[in-house]
Symmetry: C3
Subunit: 360 residues, 3 copies
C-alpha cells in the first residue's frame, strides 16, 4: 500500500453555508461522522455524530430549539456537544461529544479536525472573492472515491489538462510550459504563464477570446486541504492586470482514508450578471471534474493494489506535486509522532536529482 | 472495534418447525453453515453444511431417503452426518460432519451450537403458549445486519419505544416509567408496570382499549439467545390477572459476527379466532421490527467504525441492557478461556456508580 | 483459510490471439495488471499496466505507432516497457515497467509471469490441433470467482460430471469407471476408458452415436495452468484410432487470489465444416462450464469461510486431483522459499493410506 498521509490539524471545508440549516446534516470528515446544523441565532455548530450513550447518529434525532434529542433513547445534546438531560428520565448524565472548532466565512463552513487549541482562524486561506460584489461564482461538491493526496497532486500538476481535458481546458501549451515553484510554511505555489498560445475551447466560448492569447495559471496549495488557482486570460500582449480573471478554489476534505469530498467554486470578475454563462461554466466545470474523478478513482485502485517497494519516476513538472505530497507527509508524520505512532513509510521514488533542479 | 461477544454454548432458535421439510435448508448460525431437513419419520436433523470431501454445501445435494448425496462428487451423508458411501464408488471413507444437537418443541427447532455434551434440553426456555389451544400467535424471521448484542440491548431497554416507535407501541409513558431488574444465572429480567397511562395506537386498535389503561411489560432475557416479553393490558385498575395478555418472543440467533437472525412470535389469549386481527398484528409487528432493524443496522456501522477506547454513557434505564451485555461477555469469555483464547476487551464505559444504584 | 497456491513461474494463457489488436487490452493476471497490444509488425507485447510515473493504467492511454502515451501526464512507454520520453516535456526519465515474456502460437498468446530468465518456450504444452486444418474448434473465456486450484481439481476429477452435468456430458459410467494416474515433472495425467456404456446426451446429438459406445477421457494437467482432455468416442468395440476425436483445452489463469480466467477451446476432427454443429458445441460447452462456475463459486465461499484445521476426506478417484494440487503447492512453496517467504500451510487431510493405493 502506498503512502496516504491524512492530516488532522488543519482547516478543511466542512460544508457550503447554504448546505447547513435547521435540518441535521451528517458528513464524514477524516473518518469521523460529523453532525452540522444551524442554531436559532443563525450560527453553525458541528459535533461528533455518535450519541455518547449508544452511538446512534445524533443527526437522525430531533431538533428541539438548539438541542438534539437522540431518536434511539432520548439523550439530549446541546450545540456544544454536552448532554443536558435525557427525555423522560430523571438523570442528567455527565457526558459529551466532541464539538469541532468552526469558522463561517464567505459562505464556507470551515472545520478544524485536530487539537482544538491549535485551531487558529488566521490559518484559513483568504477567499474575499467569494463574497466580493464585483465577483460571482458557481460552486458545488463532488464525491471522490480516492485518497486525498491523489487529488492534491492532480491539482498541483496541471500538465494533466493536456491529456485528460483536451476538449475543454487543456491543450499542448499547458504541459509544454514549465512552472516556477515556491513554497513557504504550509503553502506550495506554482506559476505558469503561457504567452501567445491557442485558446482552449472552454475559454474561447466563455470569453469570446480568439487565439493567440496569454493564459496564466498561478496555483496555491494551502496544506492540508485548500487549493486556489488564479487564472488570467487576455489577448496576447495585454498588460497586467487587464484581462479576464477567474479563481477556482478546491476544498480537498478527506472523508475516509480512501474517499474525499471535492468541494469547488469557480469565480469570475466579468459578465457577473450573465446567468447563462454561469450555467455554462458550472456544467463545464462539472464535466472537467468528472474526467478527474474517473481518472483518480482508477488511480486509487492501481495504487492500492500495488505491492510495496516499487519505485516511482518523476520529472521537473512534478516538483509542485511532490512538494505538496511531502508537505502532507511531513505534517501527518508530525502528528503521528506527537501521538506516539510510527510514521507511515514514504513511497520509494527516483533519486532526488531527477527533480531537484526544477523550478524552485 | 467495540465488544462483540458471540456465545456458542446455548440453545438458539434454528428455525420454525414449518420451515423444515423434505427440501434441504441452508442457514448460517454462529458463522457456520447448517443444513436442516426432516427425516422420513418426521424428526428433524441439522448437520454442518460442508461436505467432508471438498466442502460443497450438502444442502445443494439430493435427498435419497434420509441420506444426502452431495451434488459435486456423490458423497453420501446420513442424518447423523456420517458418510455411508460414495455414489458409483467402491469406497466408503471414514468421514463425517458435525451433527448439531436439536430439540423440536412448540413449533420451534432449537439448535445447540457449542459442545454437544453440554446440550441440556432443560436449558430451553418454556414456551407453552406457542402450542396452548387457548392462545394464538403470528410469527416470522427478519434478517438483521448487526451484531447480536445490539439486538439484545435493544430488547432489554424498551425506553427506545418512546422515540423509535411513537406511531405504534411507544409513548412517553414507556421511557417515563422506571423498571425493576433482577437476574439469576443466565437470565436477566425486568418489570415495568405503567399505571393509568394513555393507550398507544397499536393497543387501542388491537384491543379496543381506551385510555387510561394499565400496561405491563415484563421481560426475560434467557442468555444467550431468547427474549420473552410478557404483556398485560387492561382498563386502569383492573385486577390481575384480568386483561389482555400478549407474549412476544424473540430468537436472537447470531448468523455471523455482524449478522443476526431475528426470529419473532407475537401471541395473544383473546379473540384467538380473529384472522383479521392476526393479520393486523403481524403487519404491525413487522413495521415495528423494521424500525428497529433500520436503527440497529445504522448503529452497527457507528459501532464498527468507532476507534477503541471511547467511553460510553449510561443511565439507570440501561441497567437491564448492561446486565444482558455483561452476561454475554462473561459467557463468551468463559468459552474463550476454555478454548485457550484471550478474551476480547470490554468496551470502556462510565464508572459503575452511575448505574449501580438502579433497579437491582 | 485453506491453501491457495498461486504459481508465478509458468506459461499461462494470457489471451486468445484474436483478442489482441491495436486496441489496448487490460487483463489482471496473478494479481498484476497487464496491458496487451499488437505492434505494427503484427507481433504482440504485454507490459505491466501501471505507468511508472503515477500508476495510471497505460491501457487507458493512446497508441502512437508502437508507443503508448499515458493519458494522465503523457509518459511515453514503448513496447518493451521503456519510457522513451514525455509528451511536451524536455525530460526523458530513466524509467520502465516490466515486459512479460510472451509466445504467440496456434492462436494463443502465452504469458510468463515469473522470472524472465526461466521463461523457456519449450515448456509450453503442444496444441497443434488448434491450427491443424484437419481440425476445427470453438473457444472463449469464462470469468470465475474462485481460486485457481479449485478449477484444477475440478478438471482432474471428472467423476463430478455424473452429478453436476447429468443432462449433457455426465452419466453413471463416468464416476463408475476408475482412472489410471501417472505423473512426471510438472504434468499429472489420467486415463479413463469407458467400454460399452450408454452415450450421454451431448455426444448422442453431437455425433449421432447410439448406445452402447466406448468413451475415452485422457487428461493431462500441465502445471501450473493448462489442462488438455483428449476424448475418443466410437461404437463399442471400434478399434483405435478410429472414432470421433475431440480435445478440450482449458487455460487456468489466476487473475487474483480468488478469481480465475477460465479459457477454453473445444476441438474436433469430424464434420469440421459444419457450422451448426460448432454452434451447438459452443452452446453446450458454455452451459456445462456455467454449471461448473456456479459450483466452484459456491465452493470458494465454503472454503474461504472454513476455519483452519478441519480434515478433508478423499477417495481413490481423487488421486489425480490431489496430485495436481500438491504439484501446485510444491511449485508455489519453491517460489516462496526462493523469495525468502514462509510457505503457506497445506490443508489437513485424511491419512495418505486412504488414497495411496489408487491408480499410480
Amino acid at each position: 500500500m502506498a503512502n496516504n498521509p491524512i492530516v488532522k490539524n488543519g482547516w478543511y471545508m466542512g460544508a457550503w453555508s447554504d448546505e447547513v440549516g435547521r435540518t441535521l446534516l451528517q458528513r464524514w470528515i477524516v473518518s469521523r461522522p460529523v453532525c452540522f446544523y444551524r442554531l436559532q441565532d443563525g450560527s453553525v455548530t458541528a459535533i461528533e455524530d455518535r450519541c455518547p450513550h449508544r452511538r446512534y447518529p445524533l443527526s437522525l434525532g430531533r431538533l428541539d430549539g438548539d438541542v438534539i434529542e437522540c431518536n434511539y433513547h432520548g439523550y439530549r445534546i446541546d450545540a456544544g456537544g454536552v448532554c443536558v438531560g435525557v427525555a423522560e428520565q430523571p438523570d442528567t448524565p455527565k457526558a459529551s461529544v466532541h464539538r469541532f472548532p468552526l469558522v463561517e466565512r464567505d459562505g464556507v463552513v470551515w472545520i478544524w479536525t485536530g487539537d482544538a487549541e491549535a485551531a487558529d482562524p488566521a490559518l484559513i486561506p483568504d477567499t474575499p472573492w467569494l463574497s466580493d460584489p464585483g465577483w460571482t461564482h458557481v460552486k458545488g461538491l463532488v464525491p471522490l472515491k480516492a485518497r486525498q493526496v491523489l487529488l492534491a497532486e492532480n491539482l498541483l500538476d496541471l500538465t494533466h489538462e493536456t491529456f485528460l481535458h483536451p476538449g475543454s481546458i487543456g491543450n499542448a501549451a499547458v504541459a509544454g510550459t514549465p512552472i516556477d515553484v515556491t513554497s513557504e510554511g504550509d503553502r506550495v505555489s506554482f506559476v505558469r504563464h503561457m504567452v501567445g498560445i491557442e485558446a482552449p475551447p472552454f475559454y474561447e466560448k466563455s470569453m469570446g477570446l480568439t487565439s493567440p492569447i496569454d493564459r496564466w495559471q498561478d496555483g496555491d496549495f494551502h496544506a492540508p486541504g485548500v487549493f486556489i488557482l488564479n487564472i488570467r486570460l487576455a489577448p496576447t500582449g495585454t498588460e497586467e492586470p487587464e484581462g479576464f480573471h477567474m479563481k477556482v478554489m478546491y476544498g480537498l476534505t478527506p472523508a475516509t482514508e480512501t474517499e474525499t469530498h471535492d468541494f469547488f467554486a469557480l469565480g469570475r470578475d466579468y459578465r457577473i450578471d450573465d446567468a447563462e454563462l454561469s450555467t455554462f461554466q458550472l456544467e463545464q466545470q462539472l464535466a472537467v471534474m468528472q474526467e478527474d474523478v474517473d481518472a483518480l478513482e482508477i488511480q486509487e485502485v492501481m495504487v492500492a493494489t500495488e505491492p510495496p517497494g516499487v519505485r516511482e519516476s518523476s520529472i521537473r513538472s512534478d516538483v509542485a506535486g511532490i512538494r505538496g505530497r511531502r508537505l502532507l507527509e511531513k505534517l501527518a508524520a508530525k502528528e503521528a509522532a506527537a501521538a506516539g505512532e510510527a510514521p507511515a513509510p514514504r513511497r520509494p521514488r527516483a533519486a532526488a536529482s531527477s527533480v531537484s533542479g526544477a523550478g524552485a
